[in-house]
């Protein structure tokens, strides 16, 4: 029996193994990155975070066509001309600044990039591309309550978003 001749691995096999090694390396890198990002980014449902029902007050306190600020809950309670209620997040949908209410001009002008929203939250002037977010409004026994734990994004104002008595 003759000793088997030792031949160098065929180049295509070596290439193949090299490629597999590189591929596994890249995969490991991506996994590592995903782990770091997942570690750093907490889930959307931050356990009961801000799970607050804000009691805004009796219905009669809000005259139609009025907007009242609730700085603690970071929202505005708007009562539209037809008596319906909208709870508008005061966070600008463009880049997150707090919008003040300009009662004279009846707009929410953003101080950071000059977006403007009307009392229903709709965009009057860019650069914002979406209306102000909403919080659900509940009216129980003549008392208006706003659930600030549930933020509702929307593409435009629709009558179905308004809460009536």
């Amino acid at each position: 029996m003759t000793a088997p001749s030792i031949e160098p691995a065929a180049p295509d096999r070596r290439d193949f193994l090299g490629k597999v090694g590189k591929g596994l390396g890249i995969l490991a890198g991506v996994e590592l990155l995903a782990v770091v990002v997942a570690y750093l980014a907490p889930g959307k449902g931050g356990a009961g975070r801000g799970a607050a029902l804000v009691v805004a007050g009796p219905v009669g306190e809000f005259t139609p066509s009025s907007v009242r600020a609730f700085p603690g809950g970071k929202f505005y309670l708007a009562r539209l001309a037809d008596g319906g209620f909208l709870a508008l997040s005061s966070r600008c949908t463009h880049l997150g600044c707090m919008v003040p209410w300009d009662a004279k001009q009846r707009v929410f002008p953003c101080p950071c990039h000059a977006s403007r929203f009307d009392e229903r939250g709709d965009v009057l002037a860019p650069p914002a591309t979406r209306p102000l977010d909403l919080f659900p409004v509940v009216i129980e026994g003549g008392i208006v309550k706003v659930d600030t734990s549930r933020r509702i994004g929307r593409a435009r104002f629709e009558p179905g978003q308004v809460t009536y008595l």
């Binding site: 931050g46 880049l95 000059a114 860019p126």
Partner: protein, 440 residues
């Protein structure tokens, strides 16, 4: 032959190296070309940035002794630092001005290298390292911006991290990863603090060492053609110590003096403690982001916040590949023609941008033009196409008028840089309440 004609510029004889210059000579070769010595070759910008890094490391360590990174205590510790700690205000001011100086000097360093052709082979690898260092410098400056936890810091970081949301697909994830939640809060401060005092400076130090090593490996800074002759293409060599080391020492002392003077004259800003319920009017980003903030006033956020900054970095990284095969001349702007073209392109870019900003002022308050077209097209895709056309047009025109390939790319880049520079100036000086255009 000697390239030095002025007797005051005559090289000094070599000195027996001391312990200190032995250390310095690890960064430098024993001999350097005499042609590399004049200040106008590099303006000492890279070395100046390195000196600022050292100043920032020292003052930063001092600040760390007093500062506490929690939303409840951060602002209080900074107030105590300024009001009670001996020389606390001075240390904070030096750190502030050195940080802003480092962003500025690094940008100027990048411009110097680009306009002398130092980004082209054989220095291409070091250009990539330099672009990475620029990003680290900006990241360091910006993460430091949040730490005082005042109104300025809180809202600038709210806006800047808010931009991440417009990244396609992964925007929401990136936003929550950067903030550690839906809003800027304690988790954000913890993240920015770790980045600012550990991760970014260490990364910068490692990359800086690599950056220096590559400069030495390629034989030093880029020199103009004709610095030497056939026998010694880089011209006469002179001893590094003391010819280069003395110049570097003078540069370092000059940088230190400039920072000290700025720190003595102007206090670093500190507004009231952050109030997450009220944005100041106007809320402005730090100056090196004001160009982007100005774009955000005019463009769709996906383009202004994500598209343009990303394309800018891609363009910087692509510049070496766009240069063609011709070796760089090493002269400013390649040639006199290159300088002329770059100047015209920059002037057109600056004036055109200023005109557009003014023209858009009444338009952006009016109801949108072309109401049937979605905003993503109207203020996103259309302006992007226009920008691409303008850049390509600038390069094409320059090429048609006899510029080399390198010079035509340089014209397009000059056009873009001047436009962005004007946007930055408008944002810093001409934007008042409600982001309306006002006189400074």
């Amino acid at each position: 032959m000697s390239p030095v004609t002025d007797p005051r510029e005559a090289p000094l004889p070599a000195r027996k190296p001391s312990g200190f210059s032995n250390l310095v000579l690890h960064l430098h070769p024993k001999l350097v070309p005499a042609a590399a010595l004049p200040l106008s070759r590099t303006f000492g910008l890279g070395g100046g940035a390195a000196v600022l890094f050292l100043i920032l490391a020292v003052t930063g360590s001092l600040l760390l002794v007093v500062y506490e990174p929690s939303p409840e205590r951060a602002h209080g510790t900074v107030t105590r630092l300024v009001d009670e700690v001996p020389f606390g205000a001075l240390v904070r001011n030096v750190h502030h001005w050195a940080a802003n100086g480092m962003v500025l000097v690094t940008l100027l360093h990048l411009l110097r290298v680009f306009y002398r052709g130092g980004h082209l082979p054989p220095r291409r690898g070091n250009w990539f390292a330099g672009v990475a260092l620029l990003l680290l410098v900006v990241a360091c400056a910006f993460t430091g911006y949040l730490l005082p936890w005042d109104q300025l810091a809180f809202w600038a970081v709210t806006i800047a991290t808010g931009m991440l949301e417009y990244a396609p697909m992964v925007g929401g994830l990136l936003l929550r990863a950067a903030r550690g939640g839906a809003d800027v809060g304690p988790a954000t401060l913890a993240r920015f603090f770790v980045l600012h005092v550990a991760i970014l400076p260490i990364a910068m130090l490692l990359l800086l060492a690599f950056h220096f090593w590559l400069v030495r490996k390629v034989g030093g800074v880029i020199l103009p053609e004709g610095s030497g002759d056939r026998a010694s293409p880089r011209g006469a060599l002179v001893p590094t110590s003391p010819n280069l080391t003395q110049r570097e020492g003078a540069m370092a002392l000059g940088v230190l003096a400039a920072v000290m003077v700025a720190a003595a004259l102007w206090d670093a800003p500190l507004l009231a403690q952050a109030n997450p319920g009220m944005s100041p009017n106007p809320a402005k980003a730090p100056w090196y982001f004001m160009g982007v903030q100005e774009l955000l006033v005019h463009l769709h956020p996906a383009l202004g916040a994500v598209g343009v900054p990303l394309l800018g970095v891609v363009l910087l990284l692509a510049l070496p590949a766009l240069g063609g095969r011709q070796p760089p001349t090493g002269r400013w702007f390649g040639s006199a023609r290159g300088a002329r073209h770059a100047l015209v392109a920059a002037a057109v870019g600056a004036v055109g941008t200023a005109a557009l900003v003014v023209a858009n002022e009444p338009l952006r308050r009016a109801p949108p033009w072309l109401p049937g077209i979605p905003p993503a097209v109207r203020s996103g895709a259309l302006p992007l196409a226009a920008m691409a056309m303008l850049l390509l047009g600038a390069a094409w025109l320059s090429r048609r008028r006899g510029a080399t390939r390198i010079e035509s790319v340089q014209s397009a880049v000059s056009f873009a840089l001047a436009s962005f520079g004007v946007l930055t100036l408008v944002g810093v000086f001409l934007r008042g309440q409600g982001m309306a255009l006002v006189l400074p």
